[in-house]
Structure formats: C-alpha cells, structure tokens
Amino acid sequence: MMWTGWAQRALRLTVVLFLVLLLTQAMTLLVPGDLAVMILGENASLEALAQLRKELALDQPLLDRFLQWLGAALEGDLGVSLQTGQPVAQLIAERFLVSFELMLYATGLALILALLVSVLAVSRVGTWLDRFCSFMALGLISIPGFSLGLFLILFFALMLGWFPATGYRLWSEGVVAHLSSLFLPALALALVEAPVYFRILRTDMGETLKRPFVMTARAKGVSKWGVLIRHVLRPSLVTLITVIGLNVGHLVGGAVIIETLFALPGMGRLLVGAVYAKDLFLVQGIVLVVALVYIIVNMLVDALYLVLYPQARGVERQR
C-alpha cells in the first residue's frame, strides 16, 4: 500500500515531536538556581514562592511536569509569558501570522525568480547566458543573508526611497502599504533561497532535457517552450519540493536578523527576547509551534511527493 510508508514516517515524526517538547521541558533544569526565586525575586514572600512553585509544578519530577504542560497545551493553554503576563498562545498567534506570511511571500518570490531564470538558462543551454546565470547564482549563494538585508536597505530604502526601510503595516492599513512594507524583507530572504532553487532546477532540467521522451515530444512538433514547461518541469520538481520543505520549516522561527533589521513583529524576535529574558513558557510555546510547523510541512511534502510521483510508491523518499 502506497501510504503505509507514509504512515510509518508520520508515526516516527510524532515521536520526534514528543522528544523535542520533552527536551524543551528539560531546559528548565539548565536554569541555575531556583526558578521561582528567579521569577519573583529574592524579596518575594515564602507563601508567594510556594504558590508559584505549585503552579509551575517545580516539585514534581520532570515527566509529570511535562505531561501537565502537554495536557494544558492540547487544550490551547500554553501558560503565560513571564515578562508581560500575556497568554503565550495569544502572543505566539499574533507573531506567527507575520512570520508565516513573510515566509510565504519570500518562498513565492524565490520560486518565481528561480523558475524564470532557470527556464531562461535552460532555453539557451550551453550559451554564455546559461553560464552567466549559474555564476550569478553561485555569487548570490556566497553572500550572507544579513549582509543582503543591510544592502537592500541601503539601496532601496535609504538611497532610492522606493520602499520603507522599516515598519510593519497591517492589512487594515491598506493592501499596498502592507505588501510594500514586507517586500524588502521578503526579497532579502528570497535572494538567499532563490539561487539554491535555481541550481536544483537547472541541474534537474538539464538532466531531463537529455532524456529521450523530450526528443520524442519535439519530434511530434511540440514547441520548445511547451516542452520545457510541460515535460521537463514536472519531474524536476522532485528535489525542489524537498528543499523547500526543509527551508520552510526553519524559516518560520529563524528569520531573526531580517526581522530585527526591518522591525517586523515576528516569531524570531519574540524568541530571542524570550530566551534572553528566560521566559520559559514562551520559549517552550515557540519551540512547540516551530517544531510542529517543521514536522507538518515535512509530512505534507512527503504526501505531495507520493501524489505527484506514484511510481515511487513503496520506496522511501531518498532524503
């Protein structure tokens, strides 16, 4: 059955999620000194400390604490932030939407760029244009993302003034304003991913072009572009989907520097602040969300792979 392999993976990934969360819980052991004292301060009364210890279940063994937290989490209660007293779930939800949207925007831009350039390069296989595209991709890969972000700000915002250097605009403030406030950060992220996608596409498409069925299609009179788009592209999406899956997972929590540079209220900045402030519930909540996204996306990619390439059934996706 095609899906048993998938189900096995799904099961394993669930175990992984459990372990990740347990690990996060274990982080509390790393906190030097008494956690309750750290939160309330030394001047807190003994009753207040006892109360907080009870709430945080600090006296109980790690596993019990974990299960308690997990139980609450399943009901949507991720605790409150030690910094502001806000419910963690609410905080994360607000920021998650921003990060998620940024990730979609960036991946979309990257895909469009990569597709356009790779189709262009492949249509002129072997010419200087093809080699130039590859070289540019290599160059782009070699620029660190944070430098890219900085220079984008320098050129497009400070020098040319085409886009806002900072400041996140909500949807309610206007569609154009919202999208343009996210454009530079999305572009910064996209320019980092795009060359990777390009190289994958270009290599795969190059390989596929040499296959016999392409010659057959050409012989039948299908135009060059028709061949490219209909016959070459689809098989080439294999590795691409895998890589996108990997990227998406960690983009949601990891675009810290871009968020800092552009002052976006995203998850990355929330996370850094939480770790610095030792806001344990918030950190745990964020890890849960990020790990969950990563795992769900991976499972989706696996399923997509099976749908697109039924001939691969029974064989586990080579990762």
Partner: protein, 259 residues
Amino acid sequence: MRVLHYLALIWLVLLASLTFSAPWLPLASFEEMDFFNEAQFPNESNWLGTDGMGRDMLSRVVHGAQVSLAVAIASPLIGLLVGGGLGLLAGYFRGWLEQLALVIMDTMLAFPALIFALLAVTYLGPSLVNVILVMGVLSIPAFARVVRGQVLLIVNLEYVTAAKALGVNHSQILMRHVIPNIFPAVASFFLTVMATMVVAEGALGFLGLSVPPPQPSWGSMIAEGREYLEDAPHISVIPSMAIFLTLLSLNLIKEKQET
C-alpha cells in the same frame, strides 16, 4: 573558469596564512580605539579604513578571520565524526539501529537551530570553544543524513553483497569499500558545510552571540557597522566582502571537485 578556481585557492591560502601568522605580522592593534579617527575610509595609515571606534579595519578583518576559519574547520569535523559515524552505521546495518538514528536525527533537525544556539551560548557563555561546539552539534544531523544516503547507494552494489556473502568482516568492508566510495560526495558536502559555518558564525556574531570582545569576528563587525551604513558603509561592506570571498572560494572549489 579555470582562472577563477585558481583565484579561489589563492584566496583561501592567503586567508589561512594571514590568520596563522597574524600575531607576528606588522599589523596595527585590533582593539586600540582612536576616537578622533572614527569611521575613516581606506587611506594611507589604515589600508582598509577604521571602524566606528577608530580601530584599524585591516587588523580586525585578519584577526576576525581566525574565528571564522576555526569555526569553519573544527565544527564540520565534529559533524563529520559524530554525524558521519552515525549515518554510516545507520546506512550499513539498517534495522532498528537505523530507525533509532533517524529518530535522533529528526529530533535534532526539528529542534529550532536558533533556539539551541541561543540557549547554549546563554548558558555556557560565549567563547570560541562553545561556538565551535554548538555549530558542530548543529551540523551532526546533516552529516548523518548525507552519509547515510550515500551509504545506502553503495551498500546494494554487487561487490559489497559479495563481500558480505564471503564473510568478510564488517569493518573491513566499511574501510575498503564503503568509505572510499562515499568519500567524494561527503567531501563535497564538507565544503558546503564549511561555507555554511562561516555564515552561521557571522549570524551569531551579528546577534552578539559569538566570541566576546575584544576579539573581533566578521559577524559582529558587520553588526557594528550598521549605524554607519549611509556615511561609512565600508565598515559593514569590508567584512561582508571577506565572508563573500571566502564562501565563493569554497563553493568554486567544491564545484571543481564535483566534476
């Protein structure tokens, strides 16, 4: 293209030699501040200019290279030895060992890298050794995956199954057949990881989590140059160029090696 490959090699060799000989070179001090000479563009007395606190950029780039190179070499080694070993065993022996290894790898991959790095540096304290350890640990699952993938390709080949049937013991098979065959792909991946390490250390430095002052690092230099972006962009551009050239060289060499 060949010219480029040679240039790449030259850059890397130059970088490495400058890094190792730094203490003996006639460079200016990398920590001496000169508030009346801040943010100067490259000139006769400071060949690469000065940063926001008047410190010599050339000296800081060279000393910063020490950190970048140390991380670029040592961290992937950790990943290779631990992760590669894990992947080797998983791919060769299969069965429950492989399942266990996959679970461990997936867990490490699902745990957000940034959180791990932040936590580790926050609790262990920022130092070169800790940064190398953290980066090394983070590269373990990637190496495990790649090595396992390569091993899976090799293990079904005829001469390997033949060797097994003949009763040749495992370590001999691994040493004589498996490892030499996976070597090219793994070496290529090693170069990729080296490049990633340079950027990752830069990112940590940008966030202030890398080696603490007064030791310069390329990432923290870029971060410090942010506020001078409009008036003295060289403070951010020069370390960015250093990272760029290093990455480009590594990537070019990797390309050469793959063909």
